[in-house]
Amino acid sequence: MSAKLEVAELDRLCRAEWGRLLSALIRDFGDFDFAEEVLQDAFASALVEWAARPPSSPRGWLYAAARHNAIDQLRRRGRFEGKLAALAETAEREAPAADAFDEERTVPDERLRLIFTCCHPALASEAQVALTLRTLCGLTTDEIARAFLVPTSTMAQRLVRAKAKIRGAGIPYSVPSAVELPDRLAEVMAVIYLVFNEGYSAAKGDALVRGELCAEAIRLAQVVRSLLPEPLSELEGLLALMLLHDARRATRVDVRGELVLLADQDRGRWDRAQIDEGRTLLQTALRRGPAGPYALEAAIAAVHAEATRAEDTDWRQIAGLYQRLHALHASPVVALNHAIAVSMADGPRAALPLVDALERQLAGYHLWHATRADLLRRLGRSDAAIISYRRAHALAQNAVERRYLERRLSELTHSY
């Protein structure tokens, strides 16, 4: 680190270390707000003090400074007894030698407890997501608000309420018991995937913030994976799925911000190293046990990634994977994707009845109409295709998707 500490450098460090440091401080002091406050102060004093004397272990320094500050405050508040007194003693012994810290030993990693608390089923899904991004990923309230397109005050309220519920209702700061673990892990994975999808879907918001959400979701899955006592194939499947999708992210939207379909994406710009990482991980997951929904979706993404040209895609294999996914988790959207794969493998005529069968369930879903429109267009039934494209357009929320549908419509109406 340079003699003069750059603010940007400290920001980077803050993002990288925030979750781990906070997890240790919450364990020490049992209160989210208090831990956040003293950690924030530690970063603020680092900016001043490191300029004169950079520490050998930034993480160890920050932890010691935050604990020192915390104990000082508790002493002044006169809430100083029992366990805290013991804590104060060790903190005081450690503080002077802060820069000589063996960081791995002295800063405990309690992020697993932290993520189970943030993703507790007693919290609403949007609160789980916000808390996870704030406490584990170190995003500011403002950054989270921007990512979810809500006013900062709304996001701040959401975080305050969630933390009040943790405190008031007695949501534990612990890794759940073996009996509850499978359900609770499913909840954690759902939150991670929600963060990823929020970043991945081009529906709204600033591309830079969205890319960060994808990166944070991947990092969270990696952290949980490294901390779990036993490997979990579904978590590996989820991580593989996110790596494979994220590898294509840069090619999903063109320079003008228009949506680029999978078939038209510049495959040369896909991140091959990340695709390989995802595929290796998926193979590990599949060797470990029967494929769950995340692993099956990852397998579908892997088949797409393996095709160097769109026309080389093994659609029959994809159709088979969608069928297995549907058997695990019957859903009309999965059935629609299966129908699309069938249309690519066996032609639009084979797929149209499959799509039509979903009308009752998906009549309000723009992609059902868009898929049907596409099949009709490929069958040369332009009039019917135009009607379906118009319905899809009327239902689509996303500006990029709407422009795509408009282009399709104008192609069809001009070819008359």
Binding site: A169, G170, I171, P172, S174, P176, E180
Partner: protein, 114 residues
């Protein structure tokens, strides 16, 4: 921590229960009481909402109306007051209340005033 576990159920279900089914359900509640005897600090079943009266005082005037506070499909039919280590333990106890299978249990931490 102390939690109040509020049991919300459809009253019709009880009205339509036969004698043997009712006995079976009561036996389940007794078994629940035994299993969590050390956690349970109090609890009661309530008479049907047909016996409920709601009282409000507005501008010094007492208004008394027949019936429960809110008209809903499910009503408060009973409660337990339990001592639990944390919310997870309270939820685990709540899930064992026989009424959780047909109705819903609201888990409410008790407010402490210092």
């Amino acid at each position: 921590m102390q939690y109040l576990l509020l049991i919300y159920e459809e009253e019709n279900r009880f009205a339509n229960l036969g004698k043997s089914e009712m006995d079976k359900e009561l036996a389940e509640y007794r078994a629940f009481g035994k299993e969590f005897a050390s956690a349970i600090q109090g609890g009661n079943a309530l008479q049907p909402t047909g016996t409920a009266t709601t009282v409000r005082v507005r501008e010094g005037r007492r208004l008394t109306t027949d019936g429960p506070y809110a008209e809903a499909k499910e009503h408060l039919g009973g409660y337990y007051l339990v001592e639990a280590r944390d919310l997870d333990q309270a939820i685990a106890i709540a899930a064992k209340i026989p009424g959780a299978r047909s109705g819903s249990i609201e888990v409410r931490p008790i407010q402490k005033f210092s």
